[in-house]
Every structure is written in structure tokens, then in C-alpha cells.
């Protein structure tokens, strides 16, 4: 739903990769149109109100591809793929993307940036399908040897049209490309960030000798921490921590799971310039005494590296800890409040100044 009341109010500051998000028939969203988004967008709402789906819809709009949708499936707790050359197996793979699991609909997602740059994607079964003849005994209509191929098509951020149809071939699953993406990272609440991916990103930052502010910010919060470096273990580059009072460096996750996640998030912000970072349950693994500085460093990094943030939380303690930061930077924030209605989930935007007032006045925001 487009929120008319936000028109012209407390204008968000700075560059925003995604100023407006339009989505149809994706997950629990029948049709939504939200803007203006801000630099740091805090997503709240009851269970099953569409918080995670909202984050996913941003990912779909700005970086959607067949490969991405399979990752979303895994992050949502689906078992490892057991792909067979059956139509039902193939269609099952994509069905949960569709609103009400109705794959006769067309999913569409569009992200429009503050500089006018946008990306658009549709996911659908086209009429006059390309079919993939397969061998095998037909047991039912759903197991027909002719598989309908799903189509991912749209326009990438360079303005180029793309179209791809994931296929199952003798050589395996061929997913295809979906044009040029907006750089982005997603941190689901239930999946631990990849240690090698974080180490690779940290290494990129370190090569530019730009790791100082990151380590400095972390040392302020984690007093036991002296340094972070990339070391090779078992042939893989991983992040290690130098911990006060300990001679030997230890794997970052061994020192603190919360620290490991925060490093992954901050490094992602630093390396996704002009892109976005999505964090489901941002306070997960973080002690309450660190929440104030967590918000402060997230906002500061987001501004410094021009990376837009979308973070969800269930915690009042976490929102309350935002107060010192939001008081200084009201325009940098938006609350995205999700609710479930008879017509699907609906995200509604609350401007930063009103978000700040509600926290200060002790009024429920979640």
C-alpha cells in the first residue's frame, strides 16, 4: 500500500538505492507499494505479518534470480533440494514464492532508487510454454513428461532486458542469469553467516587498508577484542580474533557468535556500497548493553558507505536502544510496520520523527 501520509514529510536524506518498492503476488503480499524508504528501515510486526517476506521482496526486486529464489527457500527452512525430472517436483520448487501458493498468478517486483535507477522482475509461467520433453512413465497429469518452464524476466539496473528459464538437463539444474543486480546481502535469522564469505569481504576491505573504522567500532563494543585478521584454516580463509590475555588467535565464532554476526553485517555494509543489506532479527546474539552502540554504528556505516539497511526486530529493548541515535538522525530512519489482513500482509511506513516520538513516549511500535 502506498502511504500517502508520508508524501513530503521528513524527507529521507542521502542516496537510497531503494526509495520505492512495488510488489505483486509474492509470498504474503498481494499488492504493495511503499515509499519513501530511508537510509535505515526498521521492519516490525507480529509473527506471520510479513516481516521476513518484506526483506525477501527487496531481495527479489533488487537482485532477484532463479538462484536467489532457491536460496530463499533454503533460508526458510526447506530441506535440501531433491530435484527429479517430474513436473510436480519442478513446480513445487517455485510455488511457495506465489501469493496464496497460486502459481497461475504473475509475481512482479520493482525497486526504484532515489536517483531514478530501478530494477524490475517478473516470475510467471508464460502462455505457450516452452516444454522440456522427458523420459519416464507418466503416472498422473502432474507427473506429465512435459515440464512447464518458469520464466524470470525483467529489466536490470543497466536498463537491459533479461529473460531466463531454469531447466533440468542431463547435466543438472541450469538456473540462468537475471541481468545486473544491485549489490546486496541478506542475513536471515536462522542461518549463520558464511565464514569464508565474510573473510573474503574483510580481505577486500583490508587490502584497501580500510579495516580501521570497522575494528575500532568493534573494539569499543567488545572490550576483550584486540584485532581481527584473515587466517587460513583447513585451506580456507577465515576470520580470527586476537583476544586480550590469549596468545593464540581464535576463530571469530569461537570468541563470540554475536561478534561474528556483527562483523559479517558491518563488512557487508562496507562492501555493498550503493546497494543494500538486509538483516532479519538484527539484535540476535547481541547483549542488551551493546544495542545502543549497535544502532549508532549501523547508521554511521550505512551513511559512510552509502549502503541502505533493512533490519527487522521483535524487541522493544532493541527499539528503545535506538533512541539516542534516532534523536540525532530522525530523517535517516523509517519504521516498516507489517500487519496481516484478509487481503494479505500490508507494510505501512512510519516516519522517523514519529518513530522517535513513540519510543520516547513509550508507545508500542512493534
Amino acid at each position: 500500500m502506498m502511504d500517502r501520509s508520508l508524501e513530503g514529510r521528513g524527507t529521507p536524506v542521502g542516496y537510497r538505492m531503494i526509495d520505492r518498492l512495488k510488489v505483486q503476488n509474492f509470498r504474503c503480499f498481494e499488492k504493495i507499494d511503499v515509499h519513501p524508504l530511508s537510509r535505515v528501515n526498521v521492519v516490525v510486526g507480529d509473527n506471520a505479518s510479513g516481516k521476513t517476506a518484506f526483506l525477501e521482496s527487496i531481495f527479489l526486486a533488487a537482485a532477484g534470480s532463479p538462484e536467489l529464489t532457491i536460496r530463499l527457500r533454503v533460508w526458510r527452512g526447506a530441506e535440501a533440494l531433491q530435484l527429479t525430472r517430474e513436473r510436480s517436483s519442478y513446480e513445487e520448487l517455485w510455488r511457495e514464492l506465489f501469493y496464496k501458493l497460486d502459481d497461475k498468478r504473475t509475481i512482479s517486483a520493482e525497486s526504484i532508487g532515489s536517483m531514478g535507477n530501478s530494477r524490475f522482475i517478473e516470475v510467471l509461467y508464460e502462455n505457450g510454454q516452452v516444454t522440456l520433453p522427458l523420459n519416464g512413465e507418466q503416472r498422473s497429469a502432474a507427473d506429465s513428461p512435459a515440464i512447464r518452464l518458469i520464466t524470470f524476466r525483467g529489466k536490470d539496473i543497466a536498463g537491459h532486458e533479461f529473460k531466463t528459464q531454469p531447466e533440468i538437463t542431463d547435466k543438472g539444474f541450469v538456473l540462468g542469469m537475471a541481468g545486473e543486480n544491485v549489490p546486496g546481502s541478506f542475513f536471515p535469522s536462522t542461518v549463520r553467516a558464511s565464514g569464508t564469505e565474510t573473510a573474503r569481504r574483510f580481505s577486500d576491505v583490508s587490502k584497501l587498508n580500510e579495516q580501521g573504522p570497522l575494528i575500532g567500532a568493534l573494539k569499543k563494543q567488545f572490550l576483550f577484542l584486540e584485532n581481527i585478521s584473515v587466517e587460513v584454516e583447513g585451506g580456507q580463509g577465515l576470520l580470527f580474533a586476537t583476544v586480550k590475555g590469549t596468545v593464540r588467535k581464535m576463530r571469530l565464532g569461537l570468541a563470540s557468535a554475536g561478534l561474528e554476526r556483527l562483523v559479517a553485517i558491518l563488512v557487508a555494509i562496507q562492501t555493498n556500497t550503493k546497494g543494500f543489506v538486509l538483516v532479519d532479527e538484527v539484535d540476535s546474539g547481541i547483549h542488551y548493553t551493546k544495542l545502543e552502540s549497535l544502532w549508532s554504528v549501523l547508521r554511521a556505516f550505512s551513511e559512510l558507505h552509502q549502503t541502505q539497511l533493512f533490519v527487522s526486530t521483535h524487541s522493544w529493548e532493541c527499539l528503545k536502544a535506538l533512541l539516542p541515535t534516532i534523536k540525532k538522525h530522525e530523517s535517516d530512519f523509517r519504521l516498516v510496520h507489517c500487519t496481516r489482513t484478509d487481503k494479505g500482509c500490508v507494510p505501512r511506513l512510519i516516519a522517523g520523527p514519529n518513530m522517535r516520538a513513540a519510543i520516547e513516549e513509550g508507545i508500542e511500535l512493534r
Binding site: 501520509s5 508520508l6 514519529n354 520516547e360 513516549e361 513509550g362 508500542e364
Partner: protein, 238 residues
């Protein structure tokens, strides 16, 4: 953050929410609503117990945006009448405009006291009343003092004597003088803590909330429509 704040946020149920100046007002309305069996009003303000006054009205109004869908009745703003309720009315209107400007909101701006200004497309209805209101001067203390004094006229005489002796009866500001009278009055009822505030006097039943002096407010509260999307009412409490 200064002052005591709630560690658990206050949810809004609606259909009405009362925005009032101070802690005593909040306790007064909470207790009055319970005592007179009036339902449908939330009283979440002020959250900060050491801060009151009309200065916080913009923040209070802004903080409600997340709950606009539940406020199918509206927002009732209650302010002390002080020496001139029309001046207070104008002041509160300014506070609503400030909330609209700072928060990008579209609260309707009331055109008269004791009247519901219908909801806009983006914001709930609003009504402003003052206490004692309906032409009276002073504040909440004025009403409470009258009700209490009618129960204990002898003590009222003594309090007036003290006001004369101390010179407080010459202060000129009705609200402040009635605050002094009431504080003097209730001090004698609180052996363990003569500093006890009005909110405690309300909560422990010292103020007779069924007294006729409160009927005008009660009538107004009861007259407020549960849905105001396309309706306004004419001076319901008058």
C-alpha cells in the same frame, strides 16, 4: 533519556485515546473512567513522570501514528483551563499543527472547544477540552478541590485561612492557587507522607469521583461517538 519511563511499551486499543498534561491527569482519568464505568479510552500519557505540560503534546500526537487504524473514535486532548480557556484552546491548536508539521501528519485542527473535529483520510478525529472547562478557570485541581471541599467544608475554611495568612490568595493565577489549596488540603489526610501528590489522592479514593462536579466531563466522555470517520458532534458536554 531523562525521567522514569515505562520499560514495557503501552499498547493502544482505542477507539479513543486521551492526551493529557501530567501524571495526575492520567491517574485522574484512569480512575474516573473506571469509577464511572466508561469504556473505550486509552490513557497512555505521559510516559515520563517528571515531564508534563502542553509542551509534550506534539510528541504524544506523533507517537500515535502506528495506531491510527485503531483510533476509530479519535484523540481527546485535555489541558488545564488556566485563566482563560480560549487562550489554551489556541495554544493546543498550535501544538497539533506542530505535530502535523514535524511528523508529516494530517490531524484535523479543531475549530471549537468541546467539539469533535472529524477524521481526515490520514489521521483520526480530534477533540479538545479544558479542565475545569465550560467557561471555568483553573485546572484539574480546581475540580478536585471543589469536590473535596464539599465533603469537608470545615477544612476548606481552614485552607482559605492559610491561603490568606501566607498571601498565596494574592498570587492571581487560578490554577496555581488551586494547586496550593489542594496540596494543603490533602496533606492533612496523609499522615505517613504529607507530600503525597494528587495522583495518590485520586488513586486511594480521597477525591470523590462520583461527585456532581465531575458530571460535565463524564457526560462529554460518554457522548463521544465510537466512530468519527464522517461525523462530528455538537458541544456534547454542554
Amino acid at each position: 533519556m531523562t525521567g522514569k519511563t515505562f520499560t514495557v511499551p503501552t499498547g493502544i486499543v482505542g477507539p479513543w485515546v486521551i492526551v493529557c498534561e501530567g501524571d495526575a491527569d492520567r491517574y485522574f482519568f484512569q480512575t474516573l473512567l473506571k469509577e464511572r464505568a466508561i469504556k473505550g479510552f486509552d490513557t497512555p500519557f505521559p510516559a515520563k513522570t517528571d515531564q508534563g505540560g502542553t509542551g509534550r503534546f506534539p510528541d504524544m500526537l506523533q507517537s500515535l501514528e502506528r495506531h491510527f487504524d485503531k483510533l476509530t473514535g479519535g484523540v481527546l486532548i485535555v489541558a488545564d483551563s488556566k485563566n482563560n480557556e480560549d487562550n489554551i484552546f489556541r495554544l493546543v491548536r498550535k501544538k497539533i499543527k506542530t505535530a502535523n508539521k514535524k511528523g508529516g501528519l494530517h490531524y484535523p485542527i479543531p475549530t471549537a472547544l468541546n467539539r469533535v473535529e472529524p477524521a481526515t483520510a490520514d489521521a483520526p478525529a480530534i477533540a479538545i477540552i479544558t479542565v475545569p472547562g465550560w467557561g471555568g478557570v483553573g485546572g484539574l485541581e480546581t475540580l478536585c478541590l471543589k469536590a473535596l471541599a464539599s465533603k469537608s467544608p470545615k477544612i476548606r475554611k481552614c485552607v482559605e485561612g492559610y491561603m490568606r495568612c501566607s498571601g498565596a490568595d494574592q498570587w492571581g493565577d487560578h490554577e496555581t492557587m488551586d494547586k496550593a489549596r489542594l496540596q494543603t488540603f490533602i496533606a492533612g489526610f496523609h499522615k505517613n507522607d504529607p507530600n503525597n501528590a494528587l495522583k495518590h489522592a485520586v488513586r486511594n479514593g480521597l477525591i470523590p469521583l462520583r461527585h456532581r462536579y465531575f458530571n460535565q466531563i463524564v457526560r462529554f466522555l460518554k457522548s463521544l461517538p465510537r466512530t468519527t470517520q464522517a461525523a462530528s458532534i455538537e458541544k456534547a458536554g454542554a
